[in-house]
Amino acid sequence: MKRLLTLNRHLTERIGFTAITLLAMVTVLPIVGTIIYILIQGAPAISLEFLTGFPRNGMREGGIFPAIIGTLYLALGTSIFSVPLGIAAAIYLSEYASDTPLTRTIRIAIINLAGIPSVVYGLFGLGLFVLFLNFGTSILAASLTLSIMTLPVIISTAEEALRAVPQSFRTVSISLGATRWQTIRRIVLKEALPGILTGVILGLERAVGETAPILFTGAAFFLPKLPGSPFDATMALPYHLFVISTQVPEMPIQIQYGTALVLLAFVLTMNLIATVIRSRARARRQW
């Protein structure tokens, strides 16, 4: 009887593990499937001309060079605004702000901002940057809009990374005659940097892949030449993908998938960099 019970328990455990493993595989399957599908469908379109040429014949032929460059510009523009601002805000929240109703409100606001649908940011950007500040439909307006969207992600991950640095380092540093700012600069920021970078990359990754926020603020349907200044509109990969998938009749399918593949490569590369930074930092961490 007793042996039967242990056998039974063993069996139940085995079944449980198998079920969990299967469920985990089921969740991974669609992701892997999508990537493989896009890879197979899009790979034939990838060529030097596709990556470095302009679209021709109503975008049905040629390349996506201006969209690639545009996306790079937007990523750059977004990081110029959101990275310093986001890190500064995180430092303030983690190192200086005490727990008052005001800072609690700020934290709640940041969490909620992260949940706002991106199209709302787009409309806000249209109202504030394009119209009110009169930046026009431009890289500048789009970058600022994307910055606002990315800020909550950067602030909350950076704050978390800063808080993860042991309090004892701060105490010791202060006890050795360091000021608060010296302590932050020489110890806290240095130790939190990998975590902060991961947050920055993940935030930018989201910005790079979004269509809605740039739709009204900086994205162009088609431009015959590259943007020359931050006040010009630009083509961008996600919007270009949207356009060629819905707005152009008789679009060759492999151009769509080729574009999707390039966008995917962008995002996955950023993800990979973030992962490498994180794991290398974890291996080297001294606490």
Binding site: F169, R170, T171, V172, L176, G177
Partner: protein
């Protein structure tokens, strides 16, 4: 000579705990003064007042004065950075900063603006020798400090304080995590150091208190019960409470 004069010091943390109640105490130069007593007695709190580390904690109210070389260091006007260079602190758990042994030792000096390589090297050697660690680490000064044993780490922490050439050294149960041999090394270093420094030690046991104390102060729930020469306190305490504690009847 009295290096530190504490006059009617009281302190209440923001959660209402009264951690020090009207404590008055004179701490002698070039001696080891031991603050001992059961947990929660206010020993750490007192130490953290002496280098104003309590500035980092939320303190509801504090009263009294602490004179170091005649200057009231609780005065908000004083230069706390200079104070902390003059009053070094070693904590219970060794906390090597996440950098090499050498960088740990010169951290405070660099912050103080010392850039000359020769001066820094000299400080590294001098302070590691004082902390009785030089022979063990002189060939791997650029190794991460975390790679050392707990006892060695704690001596790095001591050396890091010594590098700043302080006048007073505060040690809060510096040997609580160490084996008897490392503990012996730290205690021996303290006996050497007291020739040049004023040392305030919170020991991790009554035995250590007895071994190291030139002067001893017994704290109980925020109050100073008895203070005097180590010899007399540990052999013939005047107060019943002190005697009970030393003989292990409570605490």
């Amino acid at each position: 000579m009295n290096k530190i004069i504490i006059e009617s010091l009281s302190l209440q943390y923001s959660d209402g705990t009264e951690s020090l109640r009207d404590v008055s105490l004179d701490i002698r130069q070039n001696a080891v003064t031991v603050l001992f007593g059961p947990a929660g007695g206010g020993k750490s709190t007192l130490l953290r007042c002496l280098n104003r580390l309590n500035d980092l904690t939320e303190v509801k109210s504090s009263a009294g004065r602490i004179l170091i070389d005649g200057e009231n260091i609780l005065d908000p006007q004083i230069d706390v950075i200079a104070l902390r260079r003059k009053v070094g602190m070693v904590f219970a758990r060794p906390v090597p900063l996440p950098m090499s042994i050498r960088e740990n030792i010169i951290y405070g000096l660099e912050l103080a603006g010392e850039k000359r390589r020769a001066k820094l090297d000299e400080a590294v050697e001098r302070s590691l020798k004082l902390a009785a660690l030089w022979d063990e680490v002189k060939d791997r000064l650029d190794a991460p400090a975390i790679a050392l044993s707990g006892g060695q780490q704690q001596r790095v922490c001591l050396a890091r304080v010594l590098a700043l050439q302080p006048e007073i050294i505060l040690l809060d149960e510096p040997t609580s995590g160490l084996d008897p041999i490392s503990t012996g090394k730290v205690e021996a270093a303290l006996q050497e150091l007291k020739k040049d420094y004023t040392i305030v030690l919170v020991p991790h046991s009554v035995q250590q208190a007895g071994r190291t104390a030139d002067y001893a102060a017994f704290f109980l729930q925020g109050e100073l019960v008895e203070y005097g020469e180590g010899k007399s306190i540990f052999t013939a305490p005047k107060e019943k409470k002190t005697e009970d504690y030393i003989t292990g009847r409570f605490g």
